[in-house]
Amino acid sequence: MSLLTKAHESGSDAQARTGSTVLDMVLRFRALGLLLTLAAIVAVTAAVNPRFVNEQSIRDLLLAAAITLLLATGMTVVVLTRGIDLSVGSVLGLSAFCTASLLSENPGIPVPVAMLIGLGIGAVCGLFNGMIVHLGKVPPLVATLGTLYVFRGVVYFIAGGGRINASDMPGGFLDFGTARILGIPYLIVIAGVVLAVVAVFLSRYRAGRDMYALGSSPEAARLAGIPAGKRILTAYILCGALAGLGGVLYAARYGTVDASAGYGMELDVVAAVVVGGVAIFGGSGTVVGAALGAVLLTVISNALPVLSIDQFWQRAIVGALILGAIALDRLVGLRVKASLRKKDAHVG
């Protein structure tokens, strides 16, 4: 080992350290950054209109976020395995319309059963996606882009041009959409419970860790004997089921359901997930981050009218956030890689 290489090594060690520091910062402070952004937007908006932060509007905001949050939770699991599910908006629509029409015909169905039905419809859709992806070896994006339209088309077939109004649905179900427990709407409680359960599953159960492993390195996962097929199917079924549950909550909250329920929602969900720090290449991220992403998106769209910014900006902001988030992740990744190469620069 010559002097020159020695000198080079010590220099590169420092660079490597910076590399991992940048990474640590982004990982550890992604949530913090989101919270700060949230706080800033809330503060500015509240300064313009103090009513933005009163109890009622915070409740409204969380209510609005609850369904996106539910879908983002499921999407996180799929994205962790290096997949994506673009069909969630259509699954939500399908489940919302089916449960609503079922309830309008059978008003006696209790709310929990309605939720199970929605969950089931979603799970079947998810299974369908998972099978096309895993068994058919169709790229997830193409497969779920296809089912996005297939499921939506099915809703239109069933619905025709019709809609189901609040007056058609049993009162008990609609009450559930607005009822509260300890001042907190049920919808938020349900979203919160699902979030917590999935968070624990992903961080504390072997099957959950397998999701990370599959996305982090499929090759290493194979060597470690992780059952890839089973896990990928699980991820898509879970994602579909949560979208189905989201459909039931959607019907309960809005009362009116037509065939376009949840149209275009997949973009909000994908945005929430990537903004929340879930890597689009899989392997890293948490549902809590995705939930923060969902809340951030909702806050932005609720803040726009208060700040008298055209509501039409919302979609553009969603797109910009997706691009910004994946570009940021990529730049950090490139920096780490570059510093690693320098670190290995001792060549033997």
């Binding site: 080992m1 072997r206 982090s216 090759e219 290493a220 510093s339 290995d344 620069a345």
Partner: protein, 510 residues
Amino acid sequence: MSGTGLDAESIPERQPVLRLSGASKSFGSVAALTDARIELYAGETHALVGENGAGKSTLIKILAGVHRPDSGTITVDGEVVEFSGTAEAKEAGIAVIYQEPTLFPDLTVAENIFMGRQPRGRFGMIDRDRMNRAAAALFEQLGVPMDPERQALGMSIADQQVVEIAKAISLDARVLIMDEPTAALSGAEVERLFTVTRALRDDGAAVLFISHRFDEVEALCERVTVMRDGAHVSTDLMSEVSIDQIVRRMVGRELGALFPKQEVQPRDVVLEVDGLTREGVYRDVSFSVRAGEIVALAGLVGAGRSEVVQGVFGVDPRDAGTVRVGGRALPPGNPRAAMRAGVALVPEDRRHQGLLLDLSIMRNATLTRRSRLARFGFLVGGAERREAEQWTARLQTRYGRLTDPAGTLSGGNQQKIVLAKWLATGPKVLIVDEPTRGIDIGTKAEVHRLMSSLAAEGVAVVMVSSELPEVLAMADRVLVMREGRLAGELSRAEATEESVMFLATGQEAA
């Protein structure tokens, strides 16, 4: 040379943990192993050495359950076993640490060790504390300070290998196979790896250590097995054999059916490379090549030879240095400029770098000439077909139809298509990287004859090759690389298998 000293192939009173005998393995028409054997005993560190292509990796992959041998038996504790996959080898207590570890970059060190086997507590939940403590205990046992909660992303190769070793211990591996683990390590890191390895050996594990570095083999191992051409040559106690003897056994090979280069009076310098550097890959490489000359770039795998020629051609960026062709400097990272200046590169990895396997033979053969063959911008009138027919005929390529996918050809004929693609450009500088790897003897001779006649026509040829007989037969000069640098230059007269090998491994000639 006494070869296999029975006295040394010893410790006969004990039963080997792992024994492979009479193993052979062929890939297509290429025999990777003919008669390989090895015996590993508990509590020993065993070195496996041999030239590139001697069959070491195939042997390891058979032991790891990646490949199934065509013939031969594996016994574990005296019982014959058959591995149908890596899981079974793992089950039998065989752990392999590859040169490039396979970790989950996004997960913590502890999780990497216990993936799929995480300790569970209440409600079947993963008990992270217990897992981290268990990982910490493993590192303590290894005597390496490492944070179990640290993410694997950004870890050095050395640290990653330590994690792999910890994983192997946690699996109660009794046989630890390490495939060139030190290739990417610095001096201090190698020392640490050795400490860990010795500790394992003292605990009763059998360690198989594959390395090209004889100082390491000498420092670490008690016994050494030499392989050559897919067969076992000798097994000796390290104390009873000299490095000099080992090297001789590694290279002692017949020149056989090689076609020596014809004598050509070298003309003007065509290619000048000066101070070429790419951080972490190669450093300060300078050489020049004259028209009519064949210059070989020899060295061990990982010495940076392919990377240097790719830097010269411009497929990879370079950090410093200049490349001149016919006196004119080439811009860095621009293969098109290199091609315009008359440089051609026949890459090392035919399937990944050389060919479009699912496109037709014709498209492959004419890809580099696509613009030249166009008339008024259009590729019409069968110009590509004529060109492809002409070159495949000239190189005596055997194929079904020109429209068949290139992937359907045999290795030798695939190589001819890659050669055709580049010879069609009429290069002034032809760089060939492992031009005869994995192709049959007959085609080998044809390729050698071709290179020789090209040199005679005034082409400057740079040949990267790991096959010493090929280097010695073909090259006017031999540049030997070691660890990213030029270790020395040998003239045709000076170059022998020993002299090249000593430069490549950094051993002083005995």
